[in-house]
Symmetry: C2
Subunit: 202 residues, 2 copies
């Protein structure tokens, strides 16, 4: 294996491990040693891949959000005539995975926004970008649903996307401490199934 490929592989392993450990144990609750042990990379090598723990955290945040963008994009592309249904099915998948994980972890973005969102400038910027990417995609999906007549048009799609993201985050926190998917299911029902629907039947 060429050297640069191994470096990339190591880097990727660190990021993947970082995602799962930072999500479950938090930023300050996770030591570098713990992550490095898990992927069998020596302590001294860490700083060949990342400038600092803070830099690593910022990169982990970016790395985290990619799969979600892909997942939601796929749903939106697959169901061309029913964007709202695509969004609903996407969130259903998230709920299922949350239940599979016994409500542990939740969302890395939400957890880190709370923990270091206003103490680490690097991570703050990374969180901003990640959340905005996600919100923008959701917004485009809701706009599509508006055109299709399944979502009310008297409110801007941007505002609804923000509301959906925020409520989802809050519901995830509740789900975490209640060990129940009730809050996140309620979130989807209240917003996608009620608030976002057009007032008048067509």
């Amino acid at each position: 294996m060429p050297r640069s490929a191994k470096k990339e592989s190591n880097r990727d392993n660190l990021l993947n491990q970082g995602v799962s450990m930072l999500m479950r144990q938090g930023y300050h609750g996770t030591g570098l040693q713990e992550i490095l042990d898990a992927v069998h990379i020596p302590k001294g090598s860490f700083y060949n891949y990342f400038e600092s723990k803070e830099d690593f955290g910022a990169k982990v945040i970016q790395h985290y959000v990619d799969p979600f963008i892909i997942q939601l994009t796929t749903h939106l592309q697959q169901s061309g005539t029913d964007a709202l249904g695509a969004i609903q099915r996407y969130f259903d998948e998230l709920v299922a995975e949350l239940e599979k994980n016994d409500f542990k972890g939740g969302c890395l973005l939400g957890n880190l926004m709370g923990e270091i969102g206003d103490t680490s400038p690097l991570c703050q910027q990374s969180l901003q970008m990640a959340v905005n990417r996600y919100r923008d995609l959701l917004q485009s999906g809701l706009a599509k649903a508006q055109q299709q007549g399944t979502v009310r048009t008297d409110k801007p799609a941007a505002g609804m996307a923000d509301l959906l993201v925020n409520t989802w985050q809050g519901a995830l926190l509740r789900a975490k401490i209640e060990k129940s998917s009730g809050p996140v299911r309620q979130c989807c029902q209240d917003l996608l199934g009620d608030f976002f629907r057009p007032h008048q039947a067509p």
Copy 2:
């Protein structure tokens, strides 16, 4: 000063300091030494007041929520004929304080739910109780508003209270990383000003 009184005073100082430091820096991001220095209590004395850091965290959570309960209760009692208005004014005060603090900290409950909500059983239980107390009070306020005709009655007050709490938490996280009160203002507008309102004008 009698001994027991001083002990209570020390205990209270530790809790107050704990609230502000845990809110700003998180649980694992705050050392006991830091808290003890701030209130001039020797390190060795800490375990006379609390069994462990985790126990301290759980007590801090309980201590945190009391003022909010009082504040909201006061608003609800003062404006007897307009419960919805009381809730709105209460949240307006929260927004104002958030702005005063430059969007730092946010909500201790939200931050700790994300950071240690599923790793510390003691704190998890304390978080559950604190959030439930708050949610229940909000629910009673919304139920009152329903009786007064200012809030829709086709949805249970309990569900709306949960939705409000969750959206507020998520909006606080967003406000924190965007350094803007936009998200929390939007939260109040969307829910209290729109979603919770009766469908038909009277």
